[in-house]
């Protein structure tokens, strides 16, 4: 009997996310084990559709990006571009029948900034109902 496969999440997060130091990242790895892959990025706008698509193909069942609050991006509009790109990627994967909810974006809020750990928990909660991805390379 093979063990039931755990859903995996590839999480890109802006380096300015509160409490997202290397140690915080490792605490999350300890908590979620192989179910999470974390990638700090200099700016959420750095992530392009190709990053999401390759992540779904080679790394994880679901891919999300965490951005700074609107208007707070160090590079002015990075998080707005990230939003558009997530939308575009959703359309692409829906068109191949994969379900757009495998891709997501979470914008932190200015009034109530949440830490990386809290955001990761929320995302995990959000995706729990999803099934393992049929396109994920089993030999990765």
């Amino acid at each position: 009997m093979s063990e039931e496969k755990k859903l995996t999440l590839g999480l890109f997060y802006c380096q300015h996310t509160p409490e997202s130091s290397e140690l915080d990242r490792q605490s999350l790895e300890e908590k979620y084990g192989k179910s999470i892959r974390l990638f700090p990025v200099p700016c959420s706008g750095r992530i392009e559709p190709i990053h999401f698509l390759r992540a779904l193909e080679e790394l994880t069942d679901v891919a999300y990006v965490i951005t700074c609050p609107e208007g707070e991006c160090q590079y002015f509009e990075g998080n707005l571009w990230a939003k558009k790109r997530v939308q575009r990627t959703k359309e692409i994967i829906e068109s191949i029948g994969l379900g757009g909810d495998r891709i997501g974006i979470v914008m932190n809020s200015k009034e109530n900034p949440r830490s990386l750990a809290v955001l990761a928990d929320e995302i995990m909660e959000n995706i729990i109902h999803l099934k393992p991805s049929p396109v994920l390379n089993p030999y990765r």
Partner: protein, 465 residues
């Protein structure tokens, strides 16, 4: 004259893409579609050859970019930015800095001295070894034969002590015991680091490197079994504190390390009795009053003392005291007591760069013992995941012994060349003559005191204008 010591290096490619200091952020939104786009003009064809390493989600535009900033400055819509790569900034800690780690990776891959471009943009002084500047007066008079060519510069040291004086019989024969010495061609000994995701193959690779370099690898005695037994001649078994050792199983080794503890003299005696030709090295942590302890160790007849500083190059019980200061005071205490040549002093703890080797020797050590650099040579990121039971991000334990050996040989090849550069520039032709040459270096603290000391202290509430 013995044959010239050379370390033959050969590129040993990284198994994982290394993190680079900076990354490119290039928006496509707002692009005017210029015919002569700056991205097409990149001389390194960074944008044209763009690819993604999915294993680590590393974009090749970061790794291939040479930071000329041409594209950043040239885009009329300012759509291209350069940023610090957060993965790079998260490497290591305040001592094992990302820059040091990245340089060690590079040296282990290529075997070449790191070159950071023209000019030096860093600070001129810092804590620890960074507050030492070596005399490079001979750099203006390069040797005719070139330090890497026919010029003979020796980096070999003798491990062991020489007797204070010789005694002869009436008939003129030598009465005193012959000095027991082991020569290594490089003043660097390897030691297994106290953490790291390293299995049997890694240790075998390190032993192969120690043999290839003609030096030693120090590792706990109980680890020497199986295939490692063949490498005994280049291994230093470390007797664990409290471990009973009567010398069994030490056949074929040339050097043994015993920790400083109450009964270490007894252990040394027992080993000596069982194996008279084995040299004993006593490891002592650098703590307050260590000078007295070193004198007593030497007095008891131990001929090698290994000083163990913290992993950040400081004293074990006071992080305001740096390795360089303790080595100096121990060296001077031995000189004052007329015992300096009776012992070989090895310094260890936090030695992270080739210059630390030369600087430790200038402060008074004979040689050094390095630990984490041989792990970082294997692409370790000093992340500490292996200490928490998390998987190693660079799967170090999967590495082949031959690759491990090549990486470490490359690293030490680059360090050896840097040592030659420093000695060549100082006009010193033998590393044994570099020992304790503190007069050939400037210490920032001394300079500061001599220049500004007479001005007194700034009173509280005042500021320098």
């Amino acid at each position: 004259m013995p044959a010239k010591y050379m370390i033959h290096t050969q590129t040993a490619p990284n198994r994982f893409k290394p993190f680079t200091k900076s990354g490119i952020i290039a928006w496509t939104e707002g692009c005017l579609g210029c015919r002569a786009c700056v991205k097409k003009q990149c001389v390194y064809r960074v944008y044209i050859n763009r690819g993604l390493d999915t294993k680590q989600m590393i974009d090749s535009i970061d790794n291939q970019c040479m930071n000329c900033l041409r594209c950043v400055q040239g885009c009329p819509m300012e759509l291209i930015h350069k940023s610090i790569n957060p993965e790079y900034a998260a490497l290591g800690d305040s001592h094992w800095t990302p820059d040091i780690i990245a340089q060690l990776w590079d040296q282990a891959e290529t075997g070449k001295i790191p070159v950071s471009g023209s000019g030096y943009s860093g600070p001129f002084s810092g804590p620890g070894f960074d507050s030492m500047w070596t005399d490079m007066s001979e750099i203006v008079r390069p040797t005719r034969d070139g330090i890497h060519g026919r010029e003979y510069i020796s980096t070999g040291i003798d491990l062991g002590g020489t007797p204070r004086h010789l005694t002869f019989t009436d008939s003129g024969d030598l009465e005193s015991d012959q000095a027991l010495l082991v020569n290594i061609p490089l003043p660097i000994i390897l030691r297994i680091p106290f953490f790291g995701s390293c299995g049997k193959d890694i240790i075998k690779g390190w032993a192969m490197a120690a043999r290839g370099l003609g030096t030693f690898l120090a590792l706990p005695n109980e680890m020497i079994k199986g295939e490692l037994v063949d490498f005994k001649e280049n291994l230093i078994p470390i007797i664990s504190p409290g471990q009973h050792c009567s010398g069994d199983g030490l056949e074929g080794v040339r050097l043994v390390e015993v920790p400083w503890e109450k009964n270490c003299k007894d252990i040394s005696q027992k080993i000596k009795q069982a194996h008279p030709s084995v040299l004993i090295s006593c490891r002592t942590p650098l703590v307050r009053g260590v000078e007295e302890r070193v004198l007593s160790i030497v007095d008891s007849g131990v001929s090698i003392v290994c000083l163990e500083g913290s992993s950040w190059g400081q004293s074990m019980d006071d992080n305001s005291i740096f390795l360089k200061d303790i080595i100096r005071s121990i060296h001077l205490a031995l000189v004052e007591n007329g015992m300096r040549d009776e012992v070989t002093i090895l310094a260890s703890g936090g030695l992270a760069m080739a210059e630390h080797v030369a600087k430790s020797i200038i402060c008074g050590a004979d040689g050094v013992v390095i630990d984490f650099p041989i792990l970082i040579a294997l692409e370790c990121r000093m992340c500490g995941r292996c200490t928490k039971g998390l998987p190693c991000p660079v799967e170090i334990d999967q590495a082949e012994p031959s690759w491990v050996a090549s990486r470490v040989i490359n690293l030490l090849g680059a360090w050896h060349n840097q040592l030659l550069e420093v000695m060549g520039a100082m006009g010193i032709r033998d590393v044994r003559r570099l020992r304790g040459e503190a007069g050939r270096a400037i210490f920032f603290e001394d300079l500061d005191r001599n220049t500004f000391g007479s001005l007194g202290k700034i009173g509280e509430g005042y500021e320098l204008e």
